[in-house]
Amino acid sequence: MTEPATKRRIGVFICHCGGNISDVVDIEALRRSAATHDDVALATDSRFMCSNEGQGQLQKEIREKGLDGVVVACCTPKMYEDLFREKAEEAGMNPYLLEIANIREQCSYAHRHEPAKATAKAKLIVKAQVEKVRKLRPLEVKTAPIQPGVAVIGGGIAGIHASILLANLGHKVTLIEKSPTIGGNMARSVKTFPTDDCAMCTLSPKMNEAYNHRNIELLTYAEVRDAARSPGKWTLTVEKKPRYVTDACIGCDRCTERCPVSTAKSPIQVDSEWDQGLAKRKAIYIPFSQALPQLWTIDADHCFYFQRNRACRVCQMVCPAKAIDFTMKPETLTVDVGAVIVATGYKEYDPTPLAHLGYGRHPDILTQMQFARMMDAVGPTHGEIVRRSDGNPADTIVMVQCVGSRGAPGDPNVHEYCSRVCCMVAVKHAQLIKKARPETEVYILYNDLRAYGKGFEEYYARSMELGVKYVRGLPGKVHPHRGKLLVDVDDMLTGRRLGLPADLVVLSAALEPNPIDGLLASLHLDKTADGFVKEYHAKINPTETAVKGVFVAGCAQGPKDITDTISQAGAAAMSAAVFLGSGEMTLNPVVAEVDPALCRACDRCTEVCGFDAVHVDPERLIAIVDETACTGCGKCAVVCPTDAIAVRQFTKPQIVASIDALAPMAVAP
């Protein structure tokens, strides 16, 4: 790709910076040197280039002399590069033909006590920028249309909140939820800390708002199979699984009652996901009564009709509304959107690998989510806190913190990160037990009790007042002992070894990312070491991702409580709204460009591109840059075997021109 070597008329404007430069650099010598370079039509100076008078001079010279290139020798480009380019554009010159020669911070400031050397260096810096401008090509700022509409993947609180905000802003939202109902984990949490609100009371108004919002199209029992990207648009392929229950369903629940699945002698048993395995459910079910959409669903994998070739039609026979239709087929639909918000939430860690805690080998060892289901009035035990082994009330409950969290690095069975919420969940459940049955002994074995949020410390203090006993130490073994579960633990504060006989042991299990590798791959997203979705910048940009137009919110990005999830969902919605903006995005022109005559279609650029911004067109066998996604980092240019791809304004000839100008061999006159 040889740069055109046509004749140019370049103007060099040297700024005194009110003495910051002129006290050290001999401006007149620099000006004379600049005037001698090829294609320089004008070399002048000004006390303050950034002042109105300075900018006026710039515009006057551009117009009068018909300049087609400018070098402003002044302070760092970080200060006024954009300003000068804007002024140049107003004067009719292509702004991308203006370069800054940094002769203040990187010359006069840095070599204050060596004026002669500073002046010589300034000459080379100006020459380097002139040589670069001679090889620059004018660039047009293009805009690309963005497909209107947002897809929110995951119908938990994060997805719901983001969808409502965007819908209220007028954007068309498609909320896609894998399970038969929206609500996610929050709907199963019974209460929320630190407010002790009933989870469903705070959640279901939002669920209703999302369900009924005219700008939100709800796709439940549906999974994103693939996401194909084209400039400014994502095309999601969504597979909607059949419910085998039509909209005629009036919710009378007769079918669930009569369904033989999971009855005592039934060969087909299935745990209820909703109750986290504490109870069974029928093949035809509704996860919970306030589920939205209010539709029953037949789980074909555990239904006699499907698994025992049509052996049973009970639900169809008893259904008064004739709403059962076994012939329903999976539907595949495509959704075209401009932005995607990943809000796929978390799942609870399965503590089975931690053999010393005995989870899975004793009915009275539960996780916090299972315990929450137990406390739910409509739950499997109707709110009674009882021992699952014999149904008797649980007099002593021992909770264990950091189960699967804050593990030793490199241990494959546990996570290294802190799951942030389990301490407060334990405190919540403990003080709820104390309020319900004060006589119950509740111990919380903790490593560090992290009550960091607003109102958390007060909530923690109140639980102590209610008699919850906190033991600083994590248990060695949990083993059955005379009808109870003996929990051996060393109390680090007193140094004593304790053996706590417990009726129930509740493990505060870690929060893990939901398995969405297929989705991540199709959205070209990376994961951080802990398996959560990788945000653009952990500190200042946690809701965007490296892929333009794809955002992340809630526990998909990392463990967090509902308060933080709401804030993040709002931030993600705002980022998406800004991105969708006027339906058009202005493209940064300083991005990669491919010369089709040189491209060997060898895929080396696609392999190194961190933003999935370049693909080889299999028909024309040429790499195509998606300018809406390319950030202009230039990694591709280095690995390209033929210099076919390069970032505009940073091509090899342009950079080599700067090197040559600064080199000892090119001693400036």
């Binding site: 040889t2 740069e3 005559a597 040189l598 060997r600 060898c602 080889v616 066998l621 075997p641 033929t642």
Partner: protein, 394 residues
């Protein structure tokens, strides 16, 4: 009829008035516009706009200077056109003379990207103050010397693996030394050695070429060595055909390609291939070893001498062999990949290993196989002749 005369371009006699040197090269032989050159040209087969015949006629009609950049740099200088030309028009010679004349004025910092590396390395090695450390790639177990009557000219080998990661060029060097040591030769590998200047010459940078040629000729001649051996077809062509024109004929120094050395050692019984190498191979004649230097048979003799090796010739071989798609790193672009696909398909139809006697053929074909092939291609491995011979040593 006229055997294919060596492609050594007729040096433009100075003082010839009227006809500029490049055009003189062209008109030394009359073109009868029979189009054989264009039909045998690998670049034309992929880019119908590239036609050597058109360029020749255009030079006749309008002087040679306005040959466009595509025609100037896309030419592989492989010499297939001249090999079939009934009147032996030295087209590669014409292109080289044009590059020499036009390059200074062109705003072309270097040939193609990888050519840029070789171009900058040649310029660095043309610097007087250079002191290199060229033996790092040899590794232990191989004996080399500072003085002796056999010089192993390694050219740019110490630098190739720093640029091209998809094949082990220094492996060829190690194999060569292993073979020489086995035959009782301890070759000289000298730090004074510089790039042979092949790319500089063929891309029009005559000053760099002449500086390198004189520097190399001086230390080789002064070393008193008898034989100058190289495993690279390009170095061989330069040392044998181009150096004498710049630094005078070699006085008591015989230039040998590694295949010629091995063939000689086998005949003299100083080398025996003990271990069978049961591979099916075909042989790619490197342009600079075949057409440009007329050495077709030594490599074939070596292959025939390796026990257990089945050697199948391709359809287009010897002077009609097809180039690997990149000549002298002057150009590599979208069209190159189709040429390479064509040649590799032909090789793959004959064998599962393609043997070549030039590290650069191997680099270009390996680069292609390392990227995405244009059409499905049975897996084919590219092997250097010297490495294959070393395997047969046992």
């Amino acid at each position: 009829m006229t055997e294919t005369v060596s492609l050594v371009a007729v040096a433009a006699p100075s003082g010839r008035t009227g006809v500029d040197p490049a055009l003189h090269v062209l008109t030394a032989e009359g073109c009868i516009q029979c189009n054989k050159c264009t039909f045998s040209c690998p670049v034309h087969r992929v880019d119908v706009l590239f036609s050597p015949r058109k360029v020749i006629l255009q030079a006749y009609l309008g002087g040679a200077d306005d040959v466009n950049e595509r025609d100037l740099w896309a030419c592989l200088t492989c010499g297939e056109c001249q090999a079939v030309c009934p009147t032996q028009v030295p087209y590669p010679g014409f292109i080289r003379a044009q590059r020499e004349k036009l390059r200074p004025g062109l705003d072309r910092a270097a040939p193609c990207k990888h050519g840029g590396f070789k171009d900058i390395l040649a310029k660095i090695m043309a610097k007087p103050g250079l002191n290199q450390d060229r033996r790092a790639w040899i590794g232990d177990g191989l004996r080399v010397a500072d003085k002796g009557d056999v010089i192993y000219f390694t050219g740019c080998m110490p630098y190739l693996d720093g640029i091209f990661s998809y094949c082990d060029s220094a492996g060829i060097g190690r194999a060569a030394i292993k073979i020489m040591n086995a035959a009782g030769i301890v070759p000289v590998v000298a730090n004074a050695e510089r790039c042979c200047g092949h790319d500089a010459l063929w891309n029009g940078d005559r000053t760099t070429f002449e500086t390198l040629a004189r520097a190399n000729a001086r230390w080789i001649q002064e070393s008193g060595a008898k034989r100058l051996v190289t495993t690279c077809a390009e170095c061989y062509y330069m040392l044998k055909h181009e150096y004498p024109k710049v630094a005078g004929d070699w006085d008591g120094v015989e230039v040998l390609h590694m295949s010629e050395l091995i063939e000689g050692l086998l005949k003299e019984g100083r080398l025996k291939f003990a271990r069978p190498v049961d591979l099916q191979v075909t042989y790619q004649d490197p342009c600079r070893l075949g057409r440009h230097s007329k050495e077709y048979d030594a490599p074939r003799e070596v292959l025939k001498a390796i026990p257990g090796l089945t050697f199948v010739e391709m359809d287009r071989v010897r002077e009609n062999s097809m180039c690997c798609g990149v000549g002298a790193y002057s150009n590599c672009d979208a069209a190159t990949k189709f040429m390479q696909q064509e040649r590799l398909e032909e090789a793959a139809s004959k064998a599962d290993h393609m043997v070549t006697a030039c590290p650069h053929c191997r680099i270009h074909f390996s680069c292609y196989l390392d990227g995405r092939p244009v059409d499905p291609l049975p897996d084919l491995k590219i092997v250097d002749l010297t490495e294959l011979a070393a395997q047969a040593l046992g």
